[in-house]
């Protein structure tokens, strides 16, 4: 079962920050103060998540001052959340103009033709399009 109470050292190690950083974050009001009093002071996964959120925000260039002024790190992160960028789709194709307004397209993902073969097909298409030879 996962441990849910940490002392200062354990929390810092888990969040991969120094013990001093945890104390600074608490002093600046960026994360919640420890639970309990005296020797019984301890931290929980909530503290861990708060530290990780502050680190993510800092990595995005948000200053501690800005985080401090906003108050709640989680809501600040949500408000800054940007829609994920549209997924990039790469579509490679070779297009050959047969005559004005008529294009021949080879899809590279599905068509395994060589450039010579493509040119050959294009030549035959042009022949098929030649006036007089057009079939009805």
């Amino acid at each position: 079962m996962a441990k849910i109470e940490y002392n200062l050292g354990e929390l810092a190690d888990k969040a991969q920050v120094s013990r001093r950083t945890v104390r600074f974050y608490i002093a600046l009001g960026l994360i919640s103060p420890p639970l309990g009093r005296g020797r019984g002071r301890h931290y929980t996964d909530t503290h861990l998540q708060e530290i990780l959120t502050v680190r993510r925000l800092q990595a995005r260039g948000v200053s501690l001052g800005q985080i401090q002024r906003h108050g709640d790190v989680r809501s600040l992160e949500s408000s800054l959340a940007e829609p994920p960028p549209p997924e990039l789709q790469i579509h490679l194709a070779t297009r050959i103009t047969l005559e004005p307004g008529v294009l021949l397209e080879f899809d590279h993902d599905t068509c395994g033709r060589t450039p010579t073969e493509m040119q050959d097909i294009a030549r035959r298409c042009r022949e098929a399009l030649t006036p007089g030879e057009r079939k009805t």
Partner: protein, 776 residues
């Protein structure tokens, strides 16, 4: 949320630090300094003060005491992280605790925990160090400022946030309610010829070899304290031995060799690497321009040179270094005149790497002169870069401004086999640059070895003895657990010359100063280990890295001196204490006077480009920064500063006529060493052009050379008479001019009161030596 904005209230009532007192006691070159911080909590709640402050990078911090309610509590050394846990736990229980960290070798942070309302506490930090050695005396620098630093984008991602916060204490421009007082009591090795304090109003009295002095009242902590001590006699070699508490012996050796005269000068490739980042704007950039003008004119025709200006990006004057001639000198002068603090951030790494990795011109020795305030946080990366390129060029960094990063500047010089210099804006730049150029141009003693009477020291610092430059001193410390050496022999090799061998007999060092030597040795040794440790584990060598870590911890704990891996902790038991909420107060510091980075340190060079990612660090450290990056916002920020923080714009005073004439004379010297004849020069020697032209016409030389010879003699006459007291500033220029005159078979006669008759004597070939400083 815990209130933290109280620090920046206009009346500054909530700053718990009320004053700093520094007391330095010295015997010989050894120095023991106590820095006392006085804290008082005027708030209705318990507070924890966090104060980041500077100490000298070579300081061995050996004492941490707390005076509380008439009781003195001594701190002990323990692992850094463990100490913090104990400290935090003590605060959680409602008891007081005090912690001291080393963030950089020259930046420290004190945590003064659980100051109850109206409680006062005195925190004393003691360190030992040595006076900085100068060829004609000593220099004492007591750092007072932690200037804003530049963080690279990678550091922002990888540095621990607490380290960033320690290195960027909240900074304000204008007065703070606390300042510092300073008292000195130094017993020097010889009588003093002069005392100069360019940084502060300082009064002193000299009694034989003893100097007692004090600051005139409390001073603002906006610049380092600098004291230059000139000795009547030159330094004597010395070797002393002290017995440590554990019974071992520590030997200190100081030796300042003279360079034999007439040694051939190797052709040099001199690269001037000039910091043009925002923090240099203002007086530091002006210092850099003046320094460059002086250094350029000290080059010889066989040398090659280049200038690289760096900030967020870097610009080279020439694509590769070019020969030193008049055309290239003039182009360089035009380039130098454009240098300002105009290039944004301080990315030293790329240009330094580019300089070191350039192909070296055949037959040349590379020397890099780095002009900077050194305000960066990636010191370890830069030191590693240089350490891994030992033969790619010696670096001669010059620390400019009122609070340069001495750790970086000294470390780069040490790691590359170069030499460092510092120039306070109010000190004279010229003698320092002349001294620097002598170091650059003269061959260094290498290798340097010490025979410790056939014994092998348990510890030695430096572990590998670096090349010894002219005007530098050999400084070595060694510890012997058993028998101590009775005779120490120094051997200095000189390329193309006979080795210099000097035996010395250690004299017994007693008294309090004797206790300083073991600590100094431990600190020097630790520093070398820490430099290595900061470089990170080499590939596949994690075991060695861990061993290094253990060694640092062992030395730090055994000698009781602070390191990057340990902390001093005082956590007294207070039975019956009740847990209570403690509010953290970061103590603000005054922004370094003359620091030019406010307007441009993190600003994008291209309009519309996003600001550097580290701008937010400055925003946190400097509250009004958050007004933004737009011009209107800048104007608003500026206005607020002026209204709230008594912001004053200081314009530099105009040069006095004597200074102006001197600089002009030096700057008009041609690359080959001669001067051109002109009205101004004729006027300076109280004659006219016509008379000088007539003199030139009498010479059996071609017209341009003849008038250059007359002009050069006139310039030398001026240097030897009107500027005789500045001999240390013009000796390189004069030497170059005399070498040029020698090629025309003209030598200088003794100076006489009448310039014209002296010129005639010189040109008629009357022999006679001319000695520096000869007057009428």
């Amino acid at each position: 949320m815990a209130p933290t904005s109280g620090l920046f209230s206009q009346d500054f009532q909530s700053i718990p630090l009320t004053g700093v007192a520094v007391h330095a006691v010295g015997q010989g070159p050894a120095l023991k300094v106590t820095v006392a911080h006085h804290y008082r909590n005027d708030e209705p709640q318990a507070v924890e003060a966090v104060y980041s402050f500077p100490l000298p990078e070579e300081a061995a911090v050996c004492g941490f005491e707390v005076e509380l309610g008439g009781q003195t509590l001594k701190g002990g050394i323990a692992d850094r992280e463990k100490s913090l846990e104990e400290y935090d736990e003590a605060l959680g229980r409602g008891v007081a605790a005090y912690l001291l960290d080393q963030d950089r070798p020259n930046v420290f942070t004190a945590y003064v925990g659980n100051l109850k309302p109206q409680e006062e506490v005195l925190v004393r930090i003691s360190y030992v160090a040595v006076l900085t050695w100068l060829p004609d005396g000593f220099q004492l620098i007591i750092p007072m400022v932690v200037s804003p630093r530049y963080f690279t984008a990678q550091q922002i991602r990888t540095l621990d946030p607490a380290e960033l916060l320690h290195l960027t204490p909240p900074a304000v421009q204008g007065p703070l309610p606390y300042g510092f007082i300073l008292t000195l009591d130094l017993e020097l090795p010889g009588p003093l010829a002069g005392v100069e304090c360019p940084s502060h109003p300082f009064s002193w009295e000299i009694n034989g070899t003893r100097l007692k002095g004090a600051l005139a009242g409390q001073a603002a902590m906006d610049q380092d304290f600098v004291l230059n001590l000139k000795l009547e006699q030159r330094h004597q070699p010395f070797c002393c031995r002290a017995r440590a508490v554990d019974g071992s012996s520590v030997v200190l050796l100081g030796f300042h060799p003279d360079l034999p005269a007439g040694l051939p000068r190797d052709p040099l490739e001199v690269i001037f690497l000039v910091d043009c980042s925002g923090s240099m704007a203002g007086e530091s950039a002006a210092q850099a321009r003046n320094a460059l003008e002086l250094c350029l004119r000290a080059l010889e025709a066989t040398d090659r040179f280049n200038i690289v200006a760096f900030g967020s990006e870097y610009h080279r004057l020439f694509r590769t270094s070019r020969p030193f001639n008049q055309a290239n000198l003039e182009e360089a002068s035009r380039f130098v005149a454009t240098l300002r603090g105009h290039l944004g951030g301080t990315e030293i790494y790329p240009p330094l790497k580019a300089c070191l990795d350039q192909v070296l011109p055949k037959g040349h020795t590379r020397k890099i002169i780095l002009l900077t305030d050194g305000e960066v946080a990636n010191e370890a990366d830069l030191i590693t870069l240089v350490r891994h390129r030992p033969l790619h060029g010696a670096i001669y960094p010059v620390g400019l401004g009122r609070g340069p990063n001495a750790h970086l500047i000294r470390s780069l010089a040490r790691a590359s086999g170069g030499a460092a210099e510092f120039v306070h804006p109010q000190a004279r730049l010229e003698p320092v640059m002349v001294r620097l150029m002598e170091k650059v141009a003269s061959p260094a003693f290498h290798p340097v070895s010490i025979d410790w009477d056939g014994l092998t020291p348990e510890l030695q610092s430096p572990r590998a003895l670096p090349p010894l430059h002219v005007g530098e001193r050999l400084w070595a410390l060694a510890r012997f657990d058993g028998q101590a050496p009775q005779r120490v022999t120094v051997r200095l090799e000189l390329p193309g010359g006979d080795p210099l061998v000097r035996p010395l007999e250690p004299v017994r060092f007693t008294g309090e100063a004797a206790q300083v030597l073991p600590l100094m040795l431990a600190r020097e040794f630790l520093r070398e280990l820490e430099d290595e440790y900061q470089s990170g584990p080499a590939a596949g060598n994690r075991k060695a890295y861990q061993a290094l870590r253990r060694r640092i911890l062992e030395i730090s704990k055994n000698f009781g001196i602070l390191s990057s891996l340990t902390s001093f902790l005082v956590a007294p038991e207070r039975p019956g204490a009740e847990p209570s909420e403690v509010v953290m107060r970061r103590v603000p510091v005054v922004l370094t006077r003359g620091w030019g980075g406010l307007e441009s340190a993190y600003f994008p060079l291209q309009p519309g480009a996003p600001p550097h990612p580290s701008s937010y660090i400055l925003e946190d450290a400097y509250p009004s920064w958050r007004y933004g990056f737009r011009k209107k916002a800048l104007w608003r920020r500026d206005r607020v500063e002026r209204l709230c923080l008594d912001f004053k714009i200081v314009t530099p005073p105009p040069l006095d006529p004597q200074e102006h004439d001197f600089r002009r004379l030096i700057q008009e010297q041609h690359a080959e060493g001669w001067w051109s004849l002109n009205e101004w020069l004729a006027e300076q020697v109280q004659t006219d052009m016509e008379t000088l032209v007539t003199l030139a016409q009498k010479l059996p030389l071609l017209p341009p050379t003849a008038s250059q010879a007359v002009a050069t003699l006139s310039a030398l006459y001026l240097l030897h008479t009107r500027f005789a007291d500045r001999h240390d500033q013009w000796r390189l220029s004069a030497a170059k001019a005399e070498r040029w005159l020698e090629t025309l078979k003209i030598s200088l006669p003794l100076i006489t009161p009448d310039c014209l008759s002296w010129l005639e004597n010189a040109l008629s070939g009357q022999p006679g030596p001319c000695q520096a400083g000869d007057e009428q």
